[in-house]
Symmetry: C2
Subunit: 213 residues, 2 copies
């Protein structure tokens, strides 16, 4: 085992440090964020920072990098009030990764990558889903929190619609995202499939956890 101090991290080459620190939080969620630009351009952005905030009300968030350069996704969410999160599986991975390229505001990542926009049957929900995605989540923007330590922004949305195959929803509400082929990410650019180890029972003091299902 080796110990790396704050000062050693600060002295690392910039790109080395970016890879190093980005690997540390653990495996990350992987989603495409779909938004509609003001000129009607459908936008996609890959994010590995979506997190669960709460179930009731159903809230999710993701971290947007500092708005020091054009951030089309953030701009679109703030101007339209809607966004989608779309899980990524193996057969759309390269297209999803390509969405991290710096396209111009007037270019649509859907056009550039060949992914297909899907619009909700609900007329009041205007953000595009990724048709190929097996788990699609529609969210209404609720608020954002500025993280002034590094000027990143946490964008929080409330789930207004979920589109998925009901066969992957268990009797207890658990959604088998592994069965949906959802991938996970580490660092900036590494992608992984998953294999279930187990589900464990609700933990109580002085009771042994057991495997369930």
């Amino acid at each position: 085992m080796q110990s790396y101090s704050y000062n050693e991290i600060k002295k690392m080459d910039r790109l080395f440090r970016t890879h190093f620190v980005n690997s540390l939080a653990g495996f990350k969620s992987l989603n495409l964020v779909g938004t509609l630009g003001q000129s009607g351009i459908s936008n996609l952005c890959i994010v590995n920072s979506a997190i669960h905030i709460g179930a009731n009300p159903p809230l999710m968030a993701f971290i947007s990098r500092p708005p020091s350069v054009e951030r089309h996704t953030l701009e679109n969410i703030l101007s339209t009030g809607f966004f989608t999160l779309n899980h990524i599986h193996k057969s759309i991975l390269k297209q999803a990764h390509q969405c991290s390229a710096k396209y111009k505001r007037e270019e649509s990542e859907f056009d550039k990558t060949g992914l297909t926009p899907y619009f909700s049957k609900r007329k009041d929900f205007i953000a595009p889903y990724v048709d190929e995605s097996n788990i699609k989540i529609g969210l209404e923007y609720k608020k954002h929190l500025n993280i002034d330590l590094n000027d990143t922004i946490m964008v929080i949305g409330q789930i207004t619609e979920i589109i998925l195959n009901p066969n992957i929803v268990g009797n207890d509400g658990f959604v088998d995202i592994n069965a949906a082929g959802t991938l996970t990410n580490s660092g900036l650019d590494a992608y992984y499939e998953t294999t279930k180890v187990n589900r464990l029972s609700y933990a109580r003091p002085d009771e042994s956890v057991r495997e369930i299902r």
Copy 2:
């Protein structure tokens, strides 16, 4: 495909909704948070919400549930100013999951689960690491943000120390957490191993992404 609306989610049975919504963000990071209580009790708590906030300065965060009941981890971080994040691998999974049981403030999850506290050689860093963990991250509390939509709290720390096997650090800084056996989580209680699909090259407009290494 089936569409679930906000109103349908609101009407779900409480526990069903908890499992359902918790599954949606995608695969989550998995860590044990180590803290020191004011009476010298070493505390552990399992979290699946740790996220990368930035590499320079190196910042990470996690979401704490509302402090409407005793939250020993949150109390300890605010009173001592330090915490650790410790990756979880298969051979300590049941012990790690058991840390979610509601132990009393004067009880140590280390004692209750048999996990071993490890203290930094740096005397000024007082939070306990999990000795068995293959990737240990020491953080200094920086700030917390209240998410008033549901009274959860985002706790942000700056990395002050990282302890891991240097053999898993690549030439470009990428840390192979898969090689370290780090697990990922979905929902409340499902745990997964990972298999690498690939790493993909930095994406640029009008250039095809390619597999690297």
